[in-house]
């Protein structure tokens, strides 16, 4: 894990192993619900015994949009693509997409990458996760 991801806070959401980055899910040890981002209380059964579980790197694109108006706290280029990706665990992940527009299809196979998204107004690099065609 690079130092820059620590600065960014991204290490709360992303971890790396020998095969590359993966998203950190939460799994309730009582009811087995899996969710993202990981939180300390299970959203299904309020159980507080939550373990970390690595989420699949590949999923299917459930829906997407191209954003033209900057939302608050985003200082990168516009327009940009975001989407919801359905992972095999049944978890939906909201993420940036890096796909050519003409290739965008709902249900297309996508995979996770972690990379620089933009530099903020102070020149700090914002590292984020994206899905690209698998």
């Amino acid at each position: 894990m690079s130092a820059i991801e620590e600065v960014n806070g991204l290490s709360l959401l992303v971890r790396h192993d020998e095969e590359g980055p993966y998203l950190i899910g939460g799994k309730c040890t009582s009811c087995q619900a899996v969710f993202f981002p990981k939180q300390s209380i299970c959203p299904r059964c309020t159980g507080q015994s939550i373990e970390e579980t690595p989420l699949s790197r590949r999923g299917k694109l459930y829906t997407y949009t191209e954003v033209y108006q900057k939302p608050p706290d985003y200082n990168g280029p516009i327009p940009y693509l975001i989407g919801r990706v359905l992972l095999p665990e049944g978890v939906f992940v909201l993420a940036q997409l890096k796909v050519r527009k003409e290739d965008l299809r709902i249900n297309m196979d996508v995979k996770l990458v972690v990379e620089s998204i933009y530099r903020d107004e102070f020149g700090k690099e914002i590292i984020g996760y994206r899905f690209i065609p698998a």
Binding site: G9, T63, P71, P72, A95, Q96
Partner: protein, 375 residues
């Protein structure tokens, strides 16, 4: 439980105002009292809906009417705050705690996309915000894209929702936009989050709206106008539905079924509806969620003109959020004001003939309220 009726209603045109929210709110409150035939000293309690408008803003608004010592509750439940306040007041009147209550919804807003509603966000939210993942237009745009994929809904059907609501709003002197837009104008306006263009996003702005609620058994001594009964009312927060990430459906379905059951009616009994069309796609989805049509058939309802004034079930006769505006804390109260006017036969050019049963649907990110109102 005693029955509760709406005795008085007032609002100011939603838009942009120089005057302070204190002055606007006090004036609107007095107008609602006059409409109800009630004096300020008759009011037992007041509920003020607002979003982040300041500490005890309800007290600041109502003190100029006279410090009578009544309880004033400030209610912040996002864009659903206005109807949340009504539901609280209905419970209190129903339980016999108060007889007559003032509801006021107030808001002044900046321009642009709404900011974070909770200021001290967890770190994981901040990271997602920095990546540009969390905004309302993009959330609804993704709902739209999925609806198009699953049910064949078209960009023209989405835009037609805005055309229809602006057509209604052009007849409403209380509407923010108060002008018609052609399909070409809606589709050709600036892209906000594909496929949603600017005129498919409700305008932010300033607004005040007020209501007087009263126990039915004493209402007649104040006003001879038709009384609008709060026949059914339900407030739901988000429901855990792992396979519904878009999350505007489940709590709308739940709240509407609860409200229908309480009122002893169903979607077929409704004459007029104000629903939460913060974005064009929301209206299509909520036709389905409220049970006006089957899942996936919302676009067809628009094509058939069923939800226009003169259609089978007119929706958003006020112009809806898309035309009337969405000044968050005042939005829900404004919806109810329109239904009150419709059920009293006071809606002028946009009157639905002989409307007897109305519905309001009011939501915010994690809250949904549905009310059935009857003459």
């Amino acid at each position: 439980m005693r029955n509760v009726v709406i005795l008085g209603a007032a609002m100011k045109r939603f838009g942009r105002y120089q005057e302070s929210i204190i002055d606007l709110g006090a004036e609107c409150s007095l107008n609602a009292l006059k409409d109800a035939g009630v004096e300020w000293k008759d009011i037992n309690a007041a509920y003020c809906s607002h979003v982040l408008m300041g500490v005890t803003v309800g007290q600041f608004i109502l003190m100029p009417l006279g410090p009578t010592g009544i309880p004033i509750f400030n209610v912040d439940n996002g864009c659903a705050g206005g109807t949340t306040a009504m539901i609280l007041a209905r419970q209190a009147i129903g339980a016999g705690i108060y007889d007559i209550v003032l509801i006021i919804g107030v808001q002044k807003m900046g321009k642009g996309v709404l900011g974070p509603e909770i200021l001290d966000l967890p770190e994981t939210d901040r990271i997602q915000r920095n990546m540009g993942l969390l905004s309302l237009p993009s959330k609804y745009a993704m709902i739209a894209r999925r609806h198009m994929e699953e049910y064949g809904t078209t960009v023209e059907q989405l835009a037609q929702v805005s055309v229809k609501n602006h057509k209604h709003g052009a007849l409403n002197p209380y509407s923010h936009h108060q002008r018609e837009f052609t399909l070409e104008e809606v589709l050709g306006s600036r892209m906000i989050s594909d496929p949603l263009t600017l005129y498919q996003c409700a305008p932010t702005g300033d607004g005040v709206a007020a209501l007087v609620l009263c126990a039915e058994d004493i209402a007649q001594k104040y006003s001879s106008k038709p009384k609008v009964k709060m026949a059914g009312a339900a407030l739901c927060s988000q429901v855990y539905v792992p396979d519904d990430p878009t999350s505007i459906h489940a709590f709308t379905i739940k709240a509407s079924r609860e409200a229908y059951e309480m009122a002893g009616c169903g979607p077929k009994d409704l004459d007029v509806i104000e629903l939460h069309d913060c974005f064009s796609i929301a209206e299509i989805c909520h036709y389905e969620n409220l049970g006006l049509c089957a899942k996936g058939e919302g676009g067809r309802l628009i094509d058939e003109g069923a939800t226009e004034i003169g259609g089978r079930i007119p929706v958003n006769t006020s112009g809806g959020l898309l035309s009337r505006g969405d000044p968050t804390g005042a939005t829900g109260v404004g919806q109810v004001v329109e239904i009150v006017w419709q059920l009293r036969g006071e809606a002028r050019k946009r009157q639905v003939p002989d409307a007897k049963v109305g519905l309001t649907h009011n939501l915010t990110g994690l809250v949904c309220s549905v009310q059935v109102l009857m003459r």
